[in-house]
Amino acid sequence: MTASLDFKAQTPGSSAEPATDIEIKLRRQRRISSLIRYTILTVFGLVMLYPLIWLIGASFKTNAEIFASPSFWPKDPTLSGYIKGWETSTPYTFARFFWNTFLIITPKVIGTAISCTLVAYGFARFDFPGKRILFVTVIATLLLPNVVTRIPQYLLFREIGWLDSFLPLWVPSAVAGDAFFVFMLIQFLRAIPRDMEEAARVDGANTLQTLIYIVVPMLMPAIISVCLFQFMWTMNDFLGPLIYISSVENYPVSLALKLSIDTTEAFDWNKILAMSVLALAPSLTVFFLAQKYFIEGISTGGVKG
């Protein structure tokens, strides 16, 4: 049983001398306990993930089959959900909506990465008048519910004529508006020793050069985490586009999906399921390619401090 290997570290040197009765009993207990853990974790994990697995299978099923059996495997696999769903009931295909999502995400992620790095560097490496107060506002913004600022923000963007454009979705993030990321980068920066930066300064580099050539390379894993989280959050964002984007030609995937629920006639389920799979695909792909950055990001942002 492989589970027993897990406890090698716990009984160092015990293999050299003959095991006593108590040790054997203890080891057996541990083996059983870890078997129970594995079983519970596996069963529970499968129950949790089955809806997602089912979704992928169901997107290839015929409409008649979707509500006929709980199994994952389509009896009569068809691509019709994907083909018909992609077309939509609008003059545009989902290609247009994915392109819009891309147009929203790219500037937003780049703006977030640059602005949050600059601001975190300012907080972590400099002293300036008002720094303490400003840092308190970072924490306060972190806890401030968006719901309370949303209406005046909308009125502001309406006043300057930015409605139905991507600007309201880009600009707040491009000025380090997501306090969570600033906070996370400050935490990472505090953990990086300053020796290299001081050496660079002695050699005549200015602070911006030090940031670009010394700090950013060391901070890269954290910056990547920030980009990935912002990517996911923007992919999932629905309320932002719902408020600011009104014409269908500017719809991102999330709004288009809502539109297809509203406009699809009953009994045409596989179209919506197929498009849901496609809407989840970018996030899932990015997550599996870069999962360690997510786990590190969330552990550091959340625990330290």
């Binding site: 602005s115 601001v119 400003l134 401030l144 519910p145 502001l156 849901s276 959340g302």
Partner: protein, 294 residues
């Protein structure tokens, strides 16, 4: 860094300050002002004094319903979600070889959970003839009307959020892994059993993280929108009509910006009071090791 102007650092945080003033501080104050006005976007805001608030608390039945549904939702979701997250984290924190695999698997719903596609999926699997009812039929349970019955609808929405316990779990797990192992050894030499070790060593040491998760999850749960908006549209009989939905309808459907701001401020006040209570009570139950913070 010596020699630099003391305003140099300010230059780096300048974008943040601009954003803070323009997109946070100004809207924050403006929404408080708007909450005392009648503003329909067409004419200038008209000062009403406390009228919006008195109407909300005395004459608005929808608000009453929405407020109680929201509180019920938060007080159901946050404890269940955190309990799950902690339980699974404790089970994973046991020299399991497959720890990374499990951690990833449990984290996936957190990554996707807020999206519209998942809300759509929820609609399908909890439909009358959906996956969940098909599965429970195997065990001889009568199909449950998950969304149609006001008694169940809120619970089904709650499940969606509890399903996303992964991010809280990852934070718990990181904290559990940083607990000094020698403490466990010392305790087990002294004859403590597993439960005692968890109760009197592990749990006190991770209270800072419990506190962090509790606050973040509560603040987020109060703002849930996507789930009920897509899955139940607030119904049936407003049983899932959370306050953010009401604010959205008032602000962006009936363009009653003043009234919507008043609701937003009530929601904000509730969140703030609960957060302050948590911070205040944390002195009593959150354990901070002397040298842990730098």
């Amino acid at each position: 860094m010596g020699g630099d102007s003391k305003y140099l650092g300010f230059l780096y945080v300048a974008p943040y300050v601009a954003g803070l003033l323009l997109f946070t501080a100004f809207p924050f104050v403006a929404s408080l002002y708007l909450s005392f006005t009648d503003y329909d976007l067409l004419t200038t805001p008209k000062w009403l004094g406390l009228d919006n608030y008195t109407k909300l608390f005395t004459r608005d039945r929808t608000f009453n319903k929405s407020l109680s549904v929201t509180l019920l939702y938060v007080f159901l979701t946050v404890p269940i979600k955190l309990a799950f997250a902690l339980l699974i984290a404790v089970m994973l924190n046991y020299r399991l070889k497959a720890i990374n695999l499990f951690r990833t698997a449990y984290y996936v719903p957190s990554i996707l959970g807020g999206s519209i596609a998942i809300a759509v999926l929820w609609r399908y699997i909890f439909a009358e003839a959906g996956l969940v009812n098909m599965v429970i039929a195997f065990f001889g349970i009568e199909p449950i009307n998950w969304f149609g019955d006001p008694q169940n609808a809120l619970f089904t929405i709650t499940l969606l959020r509890c399903w996303q316990f992964g991010s809280a779990m990852v934070i718990f797990l990181a904290a559990l892994q940083s607990v000094d192992k020698t403490l466990y050894e010392a305790a087990s030499i002294d004859g403590a059993n597993q439960w005692h070790i968890f109760r009197y060593i592990t749990l006190p040491l991770i209270t800072p993280v419990i506190f962090f998760n509790l606050i973040m999850q509560t603040v987020q749960a109060f703002q849930e929108f996507n789930g009920p908006y897509i899955i139940t549209e607030g119904g049936p009989l407003k049983s899932t009509y959370l306050l953010p939905l009401y604010i959205y309808d008032k602000a962006f459907k009936s363009f009653d910006m003043g009234y919507a701001s008043a609701i937003a401020w009530i929601l904000f006040t509730i969140i703030m009071v609960l957060t302050l209570v948590a911070f205040w009570s944390s002195k009593k139950w959150v354990y901070y090791a002397g040298d842990k913070r730098s």
